[in-house]
């Protein structure tokens, strides 16, 4: 039995054919890539499909798309640290590109900002079930008056759902269960599924994706959604691998996924929302090419002693920003890329990880923690073009240097550990296959990693 998996990225359409061995393991038959044909995605897709099908017809086809840089979601909540944060976490876990996030009542300026860059989806949250009824209703009114063409996913206080439905009767509205029914029980899954469904119905229309759906009879997954699910499958099908962080670094964005379970420890008090087992955060401003300028600035802020701070480095950063296809062609440029990668990874891990600080109490020192504590997570996986293809690069040297943030709180990022590279850049492709064959896809993915010392 053979399988084909294709991932339509923003620059490359990558594909691979796999075959099941007699032992039920996935073997890589062939891997290929074609530049993404932005005007009509079907052309690049078909070129990859034909190249792979030269090995014989495949029994199953899986594919994903991150075209358009994923789907743009604006999140609305009430309190920044509660429902607004929960809406952000939910949008990220659905594979969305979070364009904006709002708290409390939407202002005229907020509506103007939404109108200026119209998101695909507005995730409207706020209030626990039976809780705050003012803000969700008021924000629904504001959105109704603004008549934005975006799909609105309502995942707030379910007791005012009828009012919201009535107010937004003229809009493209989907109502799902509250993403935070009570403060200690997050429920992101219904909103997450709704966002993915909108992706399928809305984003696939046009740009040739509809053509692919018709020809193949299958629907695509959003790439980051598939990778999130894949992270979850690794945690369940390969528990012996342990907790890990997966970094997917591209030209424009850096995504961090982590599998981690918070355990209560004596002397530590946790504050804020309960942490999910699997968490994804996206840094839309950090990347190796389009976002190289921000990476260079992150380097300056994080490790000024590493910053070459010369005209040569500056020229390189400008060059790769305007010509994202640039590959380094001398040791100096390779060093520059490594510096950018190091800064991206450290900064995105810093934003992904939680914080801790000590408080003096009558009972002695107590640690106050918010977010997740990844200090004991020792496995780091790197994927994405640069990380997959650069054998000598190892980020774990730079991460332990993450000390405290600007507020003096300790950053709970991993303290280095074993770094593994997705040598053949198979993770996005295996993530697609995991939808149908999770155990085999997980096994193949972990096997194909190369430990970097």
């Amino acid at each position: 039995m053979t399988l084909i998996s294709i991932d339509i990225g923003s620059t490359w359409t990558k594909g691979a054919m796999f075959a099941f061995s007699a032992q039920g393991q996935l073997e890589l038959v062939e891997r290929t890539a074609h530049p993404t044909t932005v005007d009509n995605l079907a052309r690049g897709f078909n070129a990859v499909l034909e190249a792979l099908a030269a090995n014989g017809a495949a029994d199953e086809l899986f594919y994903s798309s991150s075209a358009k840089g994923g789907l743009a979601v604006a999140a609305v909540g009430i309190v920044p640290e509660i429902t607004a944060e929960m809406a952000r976490i939910t949008a990220h876990s659905a594979g969305a590109k979070l364009t904006r996030s709002f708290a409390y009542e939407l202002t005229n300026a907020d509506i103007a900002a939404l109108q200026e860059s119209i998101p695909d989806i507005i995730l409207l949250a706020g209030g626990s079930d039976g809780g705050n009824a003012h803000y969700p209703v008021e924000n629904a009114r504001k959105l109704a008056r603004s008549a934005l063409p975006s799909t609105i996913v309502y995942a707030g206080n379910s007791h005012v759902r009828d009012d919201v439905e009535q107010i937004l009767a003229g809009s493209d509205l989907i109502c799902v269960d509250n993403l935070l029914p009570t403060l200690d029980c997050p429920n992101p899954e219904p909103a997450r599924r709704a966002i993915r469904d909108v992706f399928l119905s809305k984003i696939t229309a046009g740009k040739g994706l509809d053509e692919i759906v018709r020809a193949t009879g299958r629907e695509p997954s959003p790439t980051p959604y598939a990778l999130y699910e894949y992270t979850k499958y690794i945690s369940t099908f390969a528990p012996e691998f342990g907790e890990f962080v997966l970094i997917d670094m591209g030209g424009a964005t850096t995504d961090v996924y982590s599998f981690h379970e918070e355990i209560n420890t004596p002397g530590t008090v946790r504050r804020g929302l309960p942490e999910p087992r699997i968490k994804r955060t996206v840094e839309g401003d950090l990347g190796m090419r389009v976002s190289a300028r921000a990476a260079a600035e992150a380097l300056r802020a994080l490790a000024p002693s590493d910053d070459p701070a010369d005209a040569e480095f500056d020229r390189y950063v400008s060059k790769v920003t305007t010509a994202p296809e640039t590959l380094p062609n001398n040791p100096e440029e390779m060093h520059y890329d490594a510096l950018l990668a190091q800064a991206n990874i450290a900064t995105s891990l810093m934003r992904h990880a939680g914080r801790a600080h000590e408080v003096c109490t009558a009972d002695g020192l107590v640690t106050m923690q918010t977010g997740r504590d990844l200090t004991r997570v020792s496995q780091i996986i790197g994927t994405g073009g640069y990380l997959a293809k650069t054998p000598g690069f190892n980020p774990s040297g730079g991460i332990p240097r993450l000390g405290a943030d600007a507020q003096g709180k300790r950053i709970l990022a991993p303290r280095g550990g074993q770094y593994r590279r997705d040598t053949d850049y198979l993770f996005p492709l295996l993530a697609n296959i995991a939808k149908g064959h999770p155990a085999a896809a997980v096994q193949k993915g972990l096997q194909s990693l190369t430990a970097v010392s």
């Binding site: 309190v79 209030g127 809780g131 008090v269 504050r271 408080v359 106050m368």
Partner: protein, 155 residues
């Protein structure tokens, strides 16, 4: 007329990590029909207020056992007003101050800070629940009345 809702936010304020009393309060109030959003220990003023906004709670119950309540509770009502829930019921109880002071002075001190009711450590929690219910009903009745007046004025 909406159904009477009895929802309260509960927690131990400041750098106070006494968890047992907190659990006892919760275990007494919950079976008496009061929905408790329990934030546990070491809760800041803003965390109480955040939770009250999201859950639409009718009251905030602040405990303090370690003697620093006087410092931790300073400005609580003002902060509620700033954050848009100035009318919420505020209860406080426990070992609220350092040293031996007449309870009536302690009560006056916290009422001055804007707390609606102040309780000594030995208070019967069933009695607290009773007061809570009647206070919430009273404040809801006022809200409904205010809404009616506002409606009449608008109409």
């Amino acid at each position: 007329m909406r159904a009477t809702k009895l929802k309260v936010v509960l927690g131990v304020i400041g750098a106070d990590c006494h968890a047992v009393g907190n659990k006892i309060i919760m275990s007494v109030l919950a079976p008496l029909g009061i929905e408790v959003v329990n934030l546990g220990v070491m809760v800041s003023q803003d965390e109480f207020i955040d939770a009250a906004i999201e859950t639409g709670a009718e009251a905030i119950l602040v405990s303090s056992i370690y003697g620093h309540g006087e410092i931790d509770c300073q400005g609580f009502r003002g902060r509620c007003i700033e954050r848009g829930i100035g009318e919420i019921l505020l209860y406080v109880g426990g070992n609220l101050v350092v040293g031996k002071r007449e309870f009536s002075t302690v009560e006056a001190l916290f009422k001055d800070m804007g707390f609606d009711r102040v309780f000594r450590p030995s208070v019967d929690l069933v009695e607290v629940a009773g007061l809570l219910k009647s206070d919430i009903r009273k404040s809801q009745a006022t809200t409904v009345q205010t809404e009616r007046i506002a409606h009449r004025l608008a109409g």
